[in-house]
């Protein structure tokens, strides 16, 4: 009977940890949360090890060892879910409810609907448009940047569904968004600030969550996580840079400089 309980608890903690990582939590938060929850349920001899792609938990209870490892694949970066998962974790530690109840709540959080698609597109457009204004672009630039934002969202969404890798997604998305102002310039539109538009729209691709979490994981001393996340940040930055370079280079090669 006891072993069943232990395994249920292990399953719950692993799933919560996986969802925390997927929705943009720092890795130390995952390890700490899992440790606290296991302790709250009375498993003092527990070890949790997490990296961005995997979690391993083991409990020594009674005469036996119980271990479970889960692989974390995609990340969704949903800060609303992150907040709710964190709140659930706090409540579990404080009240130690039945695992069944806690699991049901976890499933409810995971199943929460995202923003409707049109609003998400609108949000992407707004980020690009307002950052263009922020960097000193004019109203017309902001309008074009809004369009670029929509393109980024469409490209990233489409390629993510096809399981493209992070590098390729970012190269293509930044290439597509740079093409718009470059094409307009070559088509004879004067008075648009190509640089401001591109900088504004690029903000959408900058891996903000990864950058902030890298630092927070370094502080805790989790260098393995920090290095793998840092690699992700650098690869994305490189991909963006390549994506910017391609349309400019092509345009210059085909039509000459302006």
């Amino acid at each position: 009977m006891h072993s069943k309980q232990v395994e249920l608890c292990l399953n719950f903690c692993c799933e919560l940890g996986r969802q925390l990582i997927r929705n943009g939590a720092e890795i130390y938060r995952v390890e700490e949360s899992a440790n606290r929850m296991l302790a709250a349920y009375g498993y003092q001899e527990a070890e949790v090890f997490a990296v961005p792609s995997c979690i391993i938990m083991s409990i020594h209870y009674g005469e036996r060892n119980y271990t479970k490892s889960v692989r974390v694949k995609t990340s969704a970066n949903n800060l609303d879910k992150l907040d709710r998962l964190n709140a659930l974790c706090r409540r579990v530690c404080a009240e130690t409810p039945e695992i069944g109840t806690a699991l049901a709540e976890l499933k409810a959080i995971v199943g929460r609907p995202a923003y409707p698609v049109w609003l998400s597109y609108f949000g992407h457009g707004c980020v690009a448009a307002f950052f263009t204004l922020f960097w000193g672009g004019h109203f017309l630039d902001a309008m074009i940047a809004f369009l670029c934002g929509l393109i980024v969202k469409a490209a990233v969404g489409y390629m993510a569904r096809l399981n493209a890798n992070v590098f390729f997604i970012n190269v293509c998305a930044s290439m597509l968004l740079v093409m718009v102002p470059v094409a307009l310039t070559y088509a004879g539109c004067t008075g648009i600030h190509t640089d401001k538009i591109i900088i504004g729209a690029i903000m959408l691709l900058v891996p903000g969550i990864a950058i902030t979490n890298v630092m927070r994981d370094v502080i805790i001393g989790d260098f393995m996580t920090a290095i793998s996340k840092l690699a992700e940040v650098l690869i994305v930055a490189m991909a963006i840079a390549v994506g910017i370079a391609i349309p400019f280079g092509l345009a210059r090669a085909l039509f000459g400089g302006i």
Binding site: A25, K81, C126, I220
Partner: protein, 149 residues
């Protein structure tokens, strides 16, 4: 007044980011946008300083402190406010101008812009680390005090 208009744009852009990152609670959205606007306000107010890096560093410290404060009050992960609030400081412009110089085969400008961008990114990282370290030390101290009877 014109000078501070970017703060408003930063606020609105951060509102867009709140949607992109699926923040749902209106209070959280508002506070992360405020953090974003303040980050740029601090940067502008420090205009007297000559060094860009120091400006970025100090602005990041203010943003991180605000995020940790909101996190403590609202019992939410500080990441939520930090991720959104720090975005206006991200040197996207530097990355672009560095690439532009590279395409134009202007390697001196490329090196200059590249190093500048890297230094600003480093300043932001250092700012976040300093605040996070101090907050964690304070939390550990408080926890150990509570354990003693």
């Amino acid at each position: 007044m014109e000078r501070y208009l970017p703060c408003l744009y930063a606020f609105l852009a951060c509102a867009g980011f709140s949607i992109v990152f699926e923040i749902k609670k209106p209070l959280f959205i508002f506070l992360s946008c405020v953090t974003g606007a303040i980050s740029w306000l601090v940067y502008l107010l420090l205009g007297g300083l000559e060094s860009e890096v120091v400006r970025y560093f100090l602005a990041t410290i203010v943003v991180s402190l605000l995020s940790e404060l909101f996190a403590r009050i609202l019992k939410a992960p500080a990441t939520i406010f930090l991720v959104i609030g720090i975005v206006p400081l991200v040197p996207g412009g530097g990355l672009y101008y560095a690439m532009d110089a590279l395409i134009n085969a202007d390697y001196i400008l490329f090196a200059q812009k590249g190093v500048e961008t890297a230094a600003c990114a480093g300043a932001i990282a250092a700012g976040v680390s300093v605040v996070t370290s101090i907050v964690r030390m304070a939390a550990t101290k408080r926890a150990s005090r509570q354990q003693k009877p």
